[in-house]
Chain length 202, copies 2
């Protein structure tokens, strides 16, 4: 079917189709949308992508997204630096922030242990977490990984490593719907779950 799509359009459809949750039909719809809108609107999206790749990286301390060396939360001196909330992804810090219940710092693992996907502790920011607990005067680590199989396994694994370091290890109270993603929890449920967190008996 050569000649049906013009080269640059097919290339754009291919690139869009690589994005998570974008199938071939959506990619085609988005590509035509980009063709139709004013050039400055399309270029604003392209520039936003470039900007993120040029200006945004990982926080040197907690591996959240950061413009510069440290993320906005690690730069904020009013946060309680004795408390660290461990999450899987940067978006999970946003979910916890929305509760307005939490004033400590974060540690973003950038994933969860998943033997099926070939992700072990060495692919995650586990080493860096242990170093922080040793160096930063942290007294409590909240393991707020997702309440699903991978998240639970990751929490259990971390609890076993952390307890010998003499730090209090907690997990948000059940109340989160099991099998779901932290990201989709509503503020009240997640806030209560954090409030009622209990020590892990690993």
């Amino acid at each position: 079917m050569a000649g049906v799509y013009e080269g640059p359009v097919q290339k754009l459809i291919d690139e869009l189709g690589r994005l998570p949750g974008v199938g071939p039909k959506s990619a085609q719809r988005i590509a035509y949308h980009l063709l139709k809108i004013p050039p400055e609107d399309a270029r604003r999206l392209a520039r936003a992508i470039d900007d993120v790749k040029e200006r945004v990286g990982w926080c040197r301390r907690c591996f959240n997204i950061a413009e510069g060396e440290l993320c906005a939360i690690c730069r904020d001196e009013r946060r309680d630096a004795t408390l660290v909330c461990v999450v899987e992804e940067p978006r999970d810090t946003v979910a916890v922030e929305r509760t307005q219940e939490y004033k400590g710092l974060y540690h973003v693992l950038q994933g969860a242990i998943s033997p099926i996907e070939g992700i072990g502790p060495e692919q995650l920011r586990v080493k860096e977490l242990l170093a922080r607990v040793g160096d930063e005067g942290i007294t409590e680590v909240i393991l707020a990984t997702n309440p699903n199989i991978e998240g639970e396994a990751t929490a259990m694994y971390l609890a076993r490593l952390l307890r010998p370091l003499g730090v209090k290890v907690t997990r948000p109270a059940s109340g989160l719907p099991v099998g779901g993603d932290l990201e989709y929890a509503d503020e009240v449920t997640l806030g209560r779950a954090l409030e009622g967190r209990r020590q892990v008996e690993a």
Copy 2:
């Protein structure tokens, strides 16, 4: 919630959220995906967007997408220039091409008449279609707008304008599921519908 998202990330989420079919949660997921992938992969998407806006426009003749003055189909001298298939969107030409039943040219209206959305004939490429029928020795116009309310109304409107010009006006046979989009028809159904097209009694 200032400081939760860093500036360029929020900007990217906002831009992604403007795309069709991309809600706030998908925009966030795509943004984090773009943050995580190697810079060269993200830049390939940004470049594909820029390329499309720089190199691709509308065919001067049929208003399909085109790199240069004319689209690939209008440039192809083996196509039957006496036959024109009128469709709503560029993607519809792809659906018709897939049938391998059609050897004529196209005319892309770039929409359908929709009083609810405030789209009248003057927002579509109707004037240009009438000019082509006058100038290009066209003997038959196939009105292959979508088999839904807007598409049917558009076909009826065009049929009334085209019949006084002494051109044969047809519409693909029913067989297409009513209420759907041309884009989603399978090749066999759409091919048969084109084969069994009949004159419009407007």
